[in-house]
């Protein structure tokens, strides 16, 4: 273990996978100079043919990734900000997400799209979208949101080794913090596996991306009030590790979901639906979603702060659930609070 920032961990994952497999490519706008730093030094190390700066042409880049992957390479296409994924959305939604299916399974598409999501840096509406719900809804892409450097490294390595299109997203606001990262070159975290970031018996907090840290802070504060929250980071949003969430909820009976994506059809609403349906009998109180709402991200920091959920909102939601439950008659649970179906 050594301490790394998010961008360093990502850079290491890229470098290690490029070293390991000559078919891994990195391309995108300014991947040489590297806006965020994760691709810094790669072109010097692996050459300009494997690490290529591109014109600003997202519609082309996203489709080229599909073509290069279909032709046997493992491209990593850096699209910079999540919002520019919209600019390249055609090939992502119409080709990448459907290509294997449409061809009857003829082709593997080992490609990764990368991007930075979320607010917190006053980059305003066109640089702050948490774009993952739209990607999750496509059904043909794996979607990863890393919340700390260690996970980022392990998940990105898995994404690059995966034979399917993966979108790898990282939260904008967290790049400077240092976290321990395993040194093992084969530290690969399986996609589709949630992490229990903190154990607790009283309620479950599912938190995504930048919200994981807030959830942990909230859990700490709740603990001081005698409430033990379990914090789960799904890490992969598609496929979602529903069982891990349901296991926790079936024990705690209470679920808060903290998610920086928009409210309607967001990731939180999907998780809420799953819990509401499959942990129906176990729930002691309604699921509570803490989201950014259905609003574009403002520029001005006070507005941004007001909209982005944080520790305080999560604590409030958690307390609300615990109290609501204390105030109203507990519903008769089905045998042992087991999950349905």
């Amino acid at each position: 273990m050594s301490r790394r920032r998010m961008v360093q961990a990502i850079q290491e994952a890229l470098a290690e996978e490029m070293e390991r497999d000559a078919r891994v490519l990195v391309f995108g706008e300014d991947v040489e100079a590297s806006m965020f730093g994760e691709t810094a030094g790669l072109s010097e190390r692996f050459g300009a043919s494997r690490v290529r700066n591109t014109p600003i042409s997202e519609a082309l880049l996203s489709g080229m990734a599909v073509g290069a992957a279909a032709a046997g390479y493992r491209p990593v296409c850096h699209l910079m900000y999540g919002n520019f994924i919209y600019t390249g959305f055609d090939a992502i939604a119409n080709q990448a997400a459907k290509f294997r299916y449409m061809t009857g399974g003829q082709v593997k598409l080992p490609l990764v799209y990368m991007g930075v999501i979320g607010g917190g840096k006053a980059t305003a509406a066109q640089h702050s979208d948490c774009i993952y719900p739209a990607l999750m809804n496509l059904g043909g892409l794996k979607v990863v949101v890393a919340s700390d450097p260690g996970d980022a490294k392990g998940l990105l390595k898995a994404a690059i080794r995966d034979d399917n299109p993966v979108v790898f997203l990282q939260a904008a606001g967290r790049s400077r913090e240092q976290y321990p990262v395993p040194d093992d070159e084969d530290y690969v975290l399986p996609l589709g596996q949630a992490a229990v970031k903190r154990e607790g018996r009283d309620l479950t907090i599912v938190a995504i991306g930048s919200m994981v840290k807030q959830a942990l802070l909230a859990a700490h504060e709740l603990a001081s009030q005698g409430i033990e929250a379990e914090v789960i980071d799904p890490r992969t949003l598609f496929p979602l590790d529903e069982d891990a969430i349901l296991r926790s909820v079936s024990r705690t009976g209470r679920l808060v979901i903290a998610d920086e994506s928009h409210n309607t059809c967001g990731a939180a609403s999907y998780i809420s639906a799953i819990a509401g349906e499959r942990a129906f009998a176990a729930l002691k109180a309604p699921v509570c979603r803490v989201t950014v709402g259905d609003v574009a991200m403002p520029f001005s920091p006070p507005l941004e702060d007001a909209l982005r959920p944080g520790k305080a909102e999560i604590v409030r939601a958690a307390l609300g659930l615990v109290e609501a439950n204390a105030a109203s008659p507990r519903r008769q649970a089905m045998a042992g609070g087991e999950m349905l179906s």
Binding site: T54, M64, G67, A71, D90, N94, Q95, R100, N164
Partner: protein, 336 residues
């Protein structure tokens, strides 16, 4: 940058290749034509699921271009993609079964007419997104360049597709990266129901100029002209010359899609226009030339046509006899 060779083909009175090749190419064009006519009839008879966009009248382009390609070269195609599939060596029966939606189809019935692909033969596939194939071909061309084994990629696209911005993006990047990429624009006069001139300004081939990309405009209904232009383009791309844009002038003899007159509220071209353009039918022209130059008699060619027709009938029968996909596998193949 204009290519220089083959500017004389128009004056070329005698067929430029030997008898075997003449007949092989003729047979391929005929195969495409017969498959398309069969599918057109099947569509009218409501035997086909979904719409079909037929390649009738454009056969010389797919055949003339793909004759220069190795199995390992890549092609990306369009919604009007049966001809490219067959010209690149795709299996007739597997194509037809796919368009009939059967498990024996090349995509196990998942793709249908607009998605026929065969990766084992370098066919990245037809595409339901207009201009969707350009970026895929560029990506494959990048892969080919990295491999360094001389593979190239060809993107077929229509005149309508030429108005998608991704064409410019492809021209720019492929020029900078010197990708082994041939961009084949089939200007068949229409984007759906819009005559080209109403939606496309200027000459498409010239869109290559500001990017320093080589380009040609060629009669796409003349197999030899296509073949010669493609020969040059392939040599250019394979030889490291970078991308090249070929614009083939042709004409769509059938509807944008079969059965279109059943739903359109008005016509967008006259029957007279279509009949007039039939005189430039590439297959008819090639047949006449073969006979004129005594490479074959009309009877020989009729026999050949009969053979091809039989193959197509067999493909149709096999497709209709083939099983539908098993619904328990409806969700298979999303992920590897």
């Amino acid at each position: 940058m204009q290519l220089t060779r083959s500017q004389s083909f128009v004056a070329c009175q005698k067929p430029i290749f030997g008898i075997d090749k003449q007949l092989a190419l003729y047979r391929k064009m005929l195969l495409i034509r017969k498959v398309e006519e069969m599918l057109g009839n099947a569509s009218l008879a409501a035997e086909l699921p979904g719409p079909v966009h037929l390649y009738v009248g454009q056969e010389a382009i797919a055949v003339g271009v793909c004759d220069h390609l190795a199995e390992t070269d890549w092609i990306a195609s369009t919604h009007r993609g049966h001809g490219h599939f067959l010209a690149k060596g795709g299996d007739t029966a597997a194509l037809v079964a796919e368009v009939f939606g059967r498990e024996t189809g090349i995509c196990r019935g998942r793709g249908g007419s607009m998605h026929v692909a065969d990766f084992s033969r370098g066919i990245i596939g037809a595409n339901g997104i207009v201009a969707g194939g350009l970026a895929l071909a560029a990506g494959a061309a990048w892969a080919a360049q990295l491999e360094g084994t001389g593979r190239i990629a060809v993107a077929f696209f229509g005149d309508g597709a030429a108005n998608q911005g991704v064409l410019m993006e492809t021209l720019n990047l492929s020029s900078l990266w010197k990708l082994p990429l041939i961009l084949v624009c089939e200007n068949n006069g229409f984007a759906e129901f819009s005559p080209s001139a109403t939606v496309t300004s200027g000459r498409i081939a010239e869109r290559a100029v500001p990017f320093g990309v080589a380009h040609r405009t060629v009669d796409g209904n003349n197999l030899e002209a296509v073949w010669l232009a493609a020969e040059e383009a392939v040599a250019h791309a394979r030889g490291g010359g970078g991308p090249i844009l070929l614009e083939f002038e042709t004409y769509r003899l059938r509807g944008h899609m079969e059965q279109e007159m059943a739903f359109l509220s008005k016509t967008y071209r006259t029957n007279a226009e279509v009949e007039e353009r039939r005189s430039a039918d590439p297959i008819r022209r090639f047949r006449e030339a073969l006979i004129a130059h005594r490479f074959a008699t009309a009877a020989d060619l009729d026999d050949l046509e009969g053979e091809v027709q039989d193959e197509v009938v067999r493909a149709k029968q096999a497709a209709k006899a083939a099983p539908w996909p098993d619904v328990t596998g409806a969700k298979d193949f999303m992920f590897a």
